[in-house]
């Protein structure tokens, strides 16, 4: 029998399925990129595995990030779900919290995840203190479940008021439903999210119900496909919190796989940067339609529990905090009625795509601007099926942009770049400065196909002194799967003033959260080398509605620690002291993390022994003007190679621009570290 020494990370993205296979000792490494098979993503995964040529019986574990659930939700290709809820409240999911999609303009559309005919009410009611005001009518629950089955529902969510404080009615109702429900797709609201706010908890539960069957079918197909190929070991699935979960239990809380793609990118960044001695980084991922920014402090990505996936779809389970804006390579530039240049959020997408793709795109995009300015290789223009000449691209730039602003094609392209960079810098400021972090204390981790093209300019704009470009910027998400730990998050609402807090109850909740996390890891049976626990508390002053999250040192937290920790956090965020007002403990959070074996990143470094000489040169535009710029191939930069900007480094999955005055060095792990001028 072959030695099972290999681990595999697979990320199924919207366009490509990326795979990294690595020997646990850091020896053999393979990467594969195949088109994503939208109808059955499992095909793409299996095809990518085949492409590596490594037999599956050498693989010890396979970690998998999937957009199956996120896409199903965004495209509303979910299964038919129903809801059983407290009498008087079946419309909560449809009414939301009286909002509209845009601040101005009184139009818009909203379709609730579960339409009205599939929403049933039963008699039961809990008070805000958790006492039973109305007993659960069990017969009504049975009738509702039968009616939902008759309507063709495949899954159901049970969502009762104040279940976060007393879940007995939800539990009892779930037991009753389970007796007649044929497939086990029964979600209890409090089990997914034990936090107050009926709309947010209800939607989170409804999302879970709606995607559970989708995820289950997908994972089963993948497991079957792997079993046919005699794979018997761990299959782990990435979650939005940046941790993994065993495929054997992932379906229970399917909602936690939402946004796992961006999360895995940030996890890879955290791992890579920490390994390179940079525990504090801002992550910057730029792709075709959008750019994502995140923040990692002391090696730990920031987590947020208040995601709104799209208008009126809050998903309040902890997720890696990624801020997305609509600026990507395909973002379209135009001049508006006021004569102002705008870039995005409209995108040319993959079809027709930028002008230079030769698929009929006729509007200037960021990618085209990079091409006109020599930042991307104009020769690559010729590599498409119906090539468009650089002159033709330039003519469109003059026509659509330059003419209105009094600029030539290059001037127009430069203007587009600067506007795009300004918008992206805004996103990076939002995750750093606006949350009380000084960008100068961070390094910028640039990935995605287009991230490294713009990163150096952004770093300069924000005063970020250093830049890290990983060995394979284009497959960072797959690497994230490989390095992520097993992670389970728990939240419980307490909502009591610190002064009157039953501290024993706090200790009991924290202990229970840890116990549940440990038990879950045990049940998954995934190999871990140790368990870490992170605890935090959401706090506010009495009467406020927004919260601040503070880290807790351990289970035996004291009132004093809560009080002082909150006051300090409040001061550093707002520079306001409020000794007059009592503070309140709102929620307790615990993350239980099962450490997986370290992955030796050195293996990712490109082939050594190359001479590090430039392979070509071309004219490239920089802020200071055009400059004849040497071009390097990434795989020919040996460890320790150093060079100064201006320079361009090209590799299969990305292009890196080194601005004049910047210094680049290749470290032993395959990363490029760029020191920004003046940084």
């Amino acid at each position: 029998m072959a030695s099972q020494s290999k681990v595999v990370g697979v990320d199924v993205g919207g366009t490509f399925t990326d795979l990294i296979l690595m020997d646990a000792d850091g020896g053999d490494i393979r990467v594969a990129k195949v088109p994503t098979t939208m109808d059955n993503q499992a095909f793409g995964v299996l095809a990518a595995l085949e492409e590596t040529g490594v037999p599956l019986d050498e693989v010890r574990s396979l970690i998998h990030g999937t957009t199956a659930t996120t896409n199903a939700l965004l495209e509303r290709k979910t299964s038919a779900a129903g809801i059983i809820t407290t009498r008087g409240f079946r419309d909560v999911l449809e009414l939301g919290r009286r909002t509209r999609p845009q601040r101005y303009g009184l139009k818009g559309h909203f379709n609730p995840l579960i339409s009205r005919e599939r929403r049933f009410e039963v008699s039961e009611r809990m008070s805000a203190e958790g006492e039973v005001l109305v007993e659960l009518d069990e017969e009504e629950v049975r009738d509702a479940a039968r009616a939902l089955l008759d309507l063709g529902c495949e899954s159901v969510v049970i969502h009762f008021f104040h279940s976060y404080i007393n879940p007995i009615h939800e539990r009892r109702a779930a037991d009753i439903v389970a007796e007649i429900w044929p497939n086990g797709y029964v979600t209890m609201g409090h089990a997914i999210l034990s936090e107050y706010r009926e709309y947010e908890r209800g939607v989170t539960g409804a999302v879970n119900a709606a995607i559970q069957p989708v995820l289950d079918r997908y994972i089963s197909r993948l497991r079957d496909g792997l079993a046919e190929r005699s794979y018997k070991h761990d299959l782990l699935v990435m979650q939005g919190n940046g941790g993994t979960v065993s495929s054997t239990i992932v379906v229970e809380a399917a909602v936690k796989t939402i946004m796992s793609g961006p999360a895995s990118g940030v996890m890879a960044a955290a791992y890579t940067a920490k390994d390179a001695g940079m525990p504090n980084v801002i992550t910057y991922d730029m792709g075709g339609t959008s750019c994502d920014a995140g923040l990692i402090r002391d090696g730990v990505p920031q987590v947020n529990s208040e995601l709104e996936l799209e208008y009126a779809m809050p998903i309040h389970v902890p997720m890696v905090d990624v801020h997305t804006i609509g600026a990507g390579g395909g973002s379209i530039a135009f001049v508006d009625d006021a004569g102002m240049l705008q870039v995005g959020p409209e995108s040319a997408g993959a079809n027709p795509g930028p002008i230079c793709y030769g698929r009929g795109g006729e509007r200037p995009t960021i990618t085209d601007a990079n091409l006109v300015l020599g930042r991307l290789d104009p020769k690559a223009l010729l590599a498409v099926e119906n090539p468009v000449s650089l002159d033709a691209v330039g003519a469109i730039f003059e026509r659509d942009i330059g003419r209105h602003l009094g600029l030539d094609a290059a001037g127009a392209a430069a203007a587009i770049l600067r506007i795009a960079n300004d918008r992206m810098a805004g996103a990076l400021r939002l995750v750093s400065l606006s949350r009380g972090h000084d960008p100068r204390d961070f390094a910028l981790f640039a990935f995605g196909g287009a991230g490294p093209l713009h990163a150096s300019a952004l770093a300069k704009e924000l005063g970020i002194p250093r830049l890290l470009v990983p060995a394979r910027p284009g497959i960072t998400n797959a690497l994230g799967c490989l390095v992520a730990d097993v992670r389970h998050d728990y939240v419980n609402t307490v909502n009591a003033p610190v002064m009157d807090l039953d501290i024993e109850r706090v200790h009991a909740i924290l202990a229970e959260q840890v116990a549940e996390g440990r038990a879950t890891i045990e049940r998954e049976g995934v190999e871990v080398t140790g368990i870490t626990v992170l605890r935090s508390a959401d706090m506010q002053f009495l009467g406020q509605s927004h919260i601040l999250t503070i880290p807790l040192s351990g289970e035996e937290v004291t009132r004093q620690e809560l009080q002082e920790g909150f006051e300090a956090a409040y001061w550093s965020r707002f520079e306001v002291e409020l000794p007059e007002i009592r503070s309140v403990l709102v929620n307790l959070h615990t993350a239980v993390i099962g450490k997986r074996k370290d992955v030796p990143l050195g293996a990712l470094a490109h082939a050594n022994g190359a001479d590090g000489k430039s392979t070509a040169a071309r004219r490239v535009w920089f802020e200071a003007g055009w400059a004849e710029t040497p071009i390097y191939r990434r795989e020919q930069l040996p460890t320790g190679a150093a060079l100064g900007g201006p320079a361009i480094v090209e590799q299969l999955d990305s292009t890196i621009v080194v601005e004049p005055g910047d210094r680049l060095e290749a470290d032993a792990r395959g990363n490029l570290i760029i020191t920004v001028e003046g940084g």
Binding site: F89, Y104, H109, D422, E575
Partner: protein, 583 residues
């Protein structure tokens, strides 16, 4: 004058200025105590010209109704300010000095750059109470402003960065639940401090002269953009109207008569045919009247940025002698929340025939304020609970109106029921769609909300400032009106309906009593007989309308037993209806 600025620097400075305001908005909302600010987002922050007070930039996250008022309010402060020094900060809530109602308290701070006055920073936040006859300030029966609360002229609450404890003590001695207000005052002041820091960085970066030049140029461009939008409207005179149910004191409707004249790229708004000033609190101060027109235009052309140039092409004839031009001591508490929305509705109604593709039938257009003040015997504390609610939006060429949309002037979310029940001794027994309330039309209106609140402990007093109780939000181009607002109190087994329908105050209730509210649906758009019968069938299947209602409103016949469409009967019914109409 042609600018020497390159287009990129201009864009970057524009974004920079807006970002400074957004940062102020965020800092304010996250640190505030008043749920009206932190949850309802009833606040706004901006930057104003150092001499004229003209709006330079306003945050994206500010409450729409403050779009114009902040500029007027800041101008009044500038006019009165003497011996300004760095660190000074004025507080003012006088409605007649460029304000709204007393609860909207403005902080205005001079911003100095390298020792010289560069601009003004200001914000407005809705305080939950500023004294007066009823908790919360929305007295439905006040007849002079003194009954509505404490009125502050512009006074320096901070002098050279130090809070004036004497002024503070005057304020705190005149308002309810004063203990939490210190938190709001600090949050509101801290937001302007954040703005000061961020704006300094921006001016450092690009230089004083460049930023000033950009400000002038951005104003010119916003005006140009607004004029380009206005040019789409055919030249002509357009008239619309809207009604406020009553002023809360005299039970008669108040009419807004809106005459809009479009010529080339200018719009003139004339409201001189509107009702005279009223006794009750539904008068509007001129700042709010103007601001309501600005925000209506921004709802029609959302892409135009907000600065003083945006409003230059909008000429407003001051409606002296009407309730839309309130002078001291007319009571005004209803102007920001309700009258403003009727003014916007009149603008929408006037322009719908002119630019049909951009407009929509009337939205519910009420903030649905319900305040309950009482004493909880279990906690031993007094409380004031506010419930706001949304309603249906109007149909439009784009589709049916949304249900439970936010008020025209607001952007806020309602507070979750579970949080309300944690904080106050009430039980919300129902929170549901207001069935049947969507106005009939080819594109129907969205639905309002129906809720019922039961008092669990002690005694309390209920007050309402709502609207559209008498007439539903108007339909457009043949569409029907949306359902009306209804309030119903059950106390001691008896039913009480407010005489003015949507406005009342000090209704005493006790343990076990309930208050039910149904909010308006949106107006319908286009002829209801043109609505696709299959959509009507789906609406009945979901219980949005009854079988009888759709037979009447849409002339669609649905079998009552199976809830399926009878296509032939529908065709016949519609033909008969059309025939009758043709006669």
């Amino acid at each position: 004058m042609a600018t020497t600025l390159d287009p990129v620097t201009l864009s970057v400075i524009q974004n920079g200025l807006i970002q400074v305001c957004n940062e102020m908005d965020l800092a304010f909302v996250r640190a505030a105590f008043s749920p009206v600010i932190s949850e309802t987002l009833d606040r706004s922050d901006g930057i104003y010209h150092r001499e004229t007070g003209a709006l330079i930039a306003q945050g994206d996250l500010g409450l729409p109704v403050f779009v114009g008022t902040m500029q007027f309010g800041t101008q009044e402060v500038i006019r009165r300010a003497r011996a300004i020094e760095p660190g000074d900060m004025f507080v003012v809530n006088d409605p007649y000095l460029g304000g709204t109602h007393l609860m909207d308290v403005r902080f205005v701070k001079p911003f100095f750059y390298e020792g010289e006055l560069f601009s003004w920073l200001a914000n407005t936040g809705h305080w939950p109470d500023t004294g007066g006859a009823v908790p919360g300030g929305f007295s439905a029966t006040a007849t002079e402003v003194e009954q509505e609360g404490l009125r502050l002229p512009p006074v320096k609450l901070f002098k050279k960065g130090e809070m004036d404890e004497e002024i503070l003590s005057i304020i705190l001695s005149n308002i309810r639940i004063a203990d939490q207000r210190i938190g709001d005052i600090k949050a509101q002041a801290a937001a302007l401090t954040v703005g000061e820091r961020r704006l300094t960085v921006l001016v450092d970066r690009y230089g004083r002269d460049t930023v000033e030049e950009a400000i002038v140029e951005l104003r010119t461009r916003a005006e140009r953009q607004m004029r380009a939008k206005i040019a789409q409207i055919p030249d002509g005179v357009y008239e619309g109207q809207a009604f406020v149910d009553s002023d809360g004191v005299v039970d008669e409707p108040l009419r807004i008569a809106m005459k809009i004249t479009k010529k080339e790229t200018d719009l003139t708004f004339d409201m001189s045919g509107s009702s005279p000033p009223c006794q009750g609190p539904m008068n509007s101060v001129i700042a709010t009247t103007k601001s309501s027109i600005y925000l209506a235009m921004k709802h029609i052309f959302p892409e135009v940025p907000i600065n003083a140039g945006t409003f230059a092409p909008l000429a407003i004839v001051e409606p002296g002698g009407t309730f839309l031009y309130a002078e001291y001591p007319r009571p005004v508490s209803g102007c920001a929340a309700e009258v403003s929305q009727r003014i916007a509705e009149a603008v929408f109604a006037a322009l719908t025939p002119a630019i049909t593709d951009l407009l929509f039938a009337a939205p519910a257009g009420t903030s649905g304020n319900f305040a309950l003040g009482g004493h909880d015997p279990m906690t031993g504390r007094s409380y004031v609970m506010y419930l706001i609610s949304g309603g249906g939006y109007g149909g439009s060429l784009d589709g049916d109106g949304m249900s439970n949309g936010c008020s025209t002037i607001g952007i806020s979310k309602t507070t979750p029921i579970e949080i309300i029940e944690q904080r106050y001794p009430v039980l919300i027994e129902e929170y549901a769609l207001h069935e049947g309330s969507g106005g009939a039309g080819e594109k129907r209106g969205g639905f309002g909300v129906r809720y019922r609140v039961k008092l669990r402990r002690g005694k309390a007093r209920a007050s309402f400032v709502m609207d559209h109780g008498r007439y539903g939000p108007q339909g457009a181009l043949g569409g029907g009106d949306g359902g009306v607002n209804r309030v119903l109190v059950k106390r001691g087994g008896e039913t009480y309906i407010p005489p003015h329908l949507s406005k009342d105050q000090d209704i005493h209730i006790a343990e076990g009593d309930t208050v039910s509210v149904c909010t308006p649906g949106g107006g319908g758009f286009g002829d209801p007989l043109e609505r696709d019968p299959a959509l009507v069938e789906a609406d009945v299947g979901r219980g949005y309308y009854t079988v009888d209602e759709v037979a009447d409103l849409f002339a669609v016949v649905i079998d009552a037993a199976t809830l399926t469409l009878d296509a032939a009967a529908t065709e016949a019914r519609r033909a008969a209806r059309r025939g009758r109409a043709a006669e």
